[in-house]
């Protein structure tokens, strides 16, 4: 019995050597491990943000327009880009390189739309006077606690760090996908799938950034 056949019957034989114990190539396993480490980076940042938020008076300054409208459209862009990426990987598995390239280019389009909208949203906040270590003067009075304690200036630091790092990931992802789209005929199917893994991970991180940073900071006029 060959090692492969033995491994199919006895899972323990997977670890005897001569087969791929996880049934994925080393590149794909590497991408999964990278994703695990990167998720820890983002978890640490988001938990650090939550730590600061729980130990400070925190402003909740995001209005429905532009902040929530923009971030919702951005969420829609990222979710749709994940769908087009899935179609791209699916086309690549059928060996249809032209369709795979078309879908990956659609993914890049949505990714760039996300970055563009996010930069416009940043500009709104910067124009309003938000900086990494200070808040606009009017927010200081508007979001002060009932006992007069002023809101924490770290709002800007956490906001720009977390969304900035995420935006950097999206931007890097579009470059990665552009390379994959350009070389899609030469690459193996698994390599296209690996780029898809990275892209879905970027989408996944936003699924936590959006509620924790945006939804939790909606200005509902409570103060």
């Amino acid at each position: 019995m060959s090692t492969e056949a033995r491994a199919a019957r006895f899972p323990a034989a997977d670890w005897d050597g001569g087969v791929l114990p996880y049934r994925v190539g080393h590149r794909k396993l590497g991408m999964w491990l990278f994703i695990v480490s990167d998720s820890l980076t983002f978890s640490a940042l988001l938990i650090g943000y939550s730590y600061l938020r729980a130990s400070n008076v925190w402003p909740t300054p995001f209005p429905f327009y532009p902040s929530i409208v923009f971030s919702s459209v951005m969420t829609f862009c990222l979710l749709s880009s994940s769908l087009t990426m899935v179609f791209g990987v699916s086309a690549s598995s059928r060996g249809d390189h032209a369709a795979a390239r078309k879908w990956i280019l659609a993914t890049i389009f949505f990714g760039l739309a996300f970055v563009g909208l996010h930069l416009i949203e940043w500009k709104h906040l910067i124009d309003e006077g938000m900086r990494p270590f200070s808040l606009p003067a009017e927010w200081l009075t508007r979001y002060a606690a009932p006992d007069g304690t002023l809101p924490s200036p770290l709002f800007g630091a956490t906001f720009f760090t977390i969304t900035g790092l995420h935006m950097f990931h999206v931007f890097t992802g579009t470059i990665y996908l552009a390379v994959v789209a350009a070389r899609v005929r030469k690459l193996k199917h698994e390599d296209v799938e690996i780029s898809g893994l990275y892209w879905h991970f970027v989408d996944l991180v936003w699924m936590f950034v959006f509620p924790l940073i945006y939804i939790m900071s909606v200005d509902v006029g409570a103060h």
């Binding site: 695990v36 598995s93 909606v218």
Partner: protein, 118 residues
Amino acid sequence: MSAHAEEHEHFAGSNKLFISIWVWLIVLTLIEIFLAYKPMPLHFMLTILLGLSIIKAALIVAYFMHLKFERLSLILTIVPMLVVCICLLFAFFPDSFRSLGLRYQFKEAPPPAAEPSH
């Protein structure tokens, strides 16, 4: 390999599944936005939002990232240790709640860092 055949079959004929996952993700996002404007206690809202986010993340990982269709050994290598590590980070929170009471509170003037803005 049966796992391999299943993977190809899955990729070939289930765009409908992926579109339904996408619709679910959009619906859950809309629920989150709706909740933002519902007055409710902060920790209550946080619990619901995180719950929805975890469901969304699970959908993305399981279907879009295809982990549901990978070997169990790969899933067991990646997921549990990540969950444990993230849970360990929550060990800092009692200190956070404590420092809310200890912190020097700015009451008179804006914090010094607010002045030099460039």
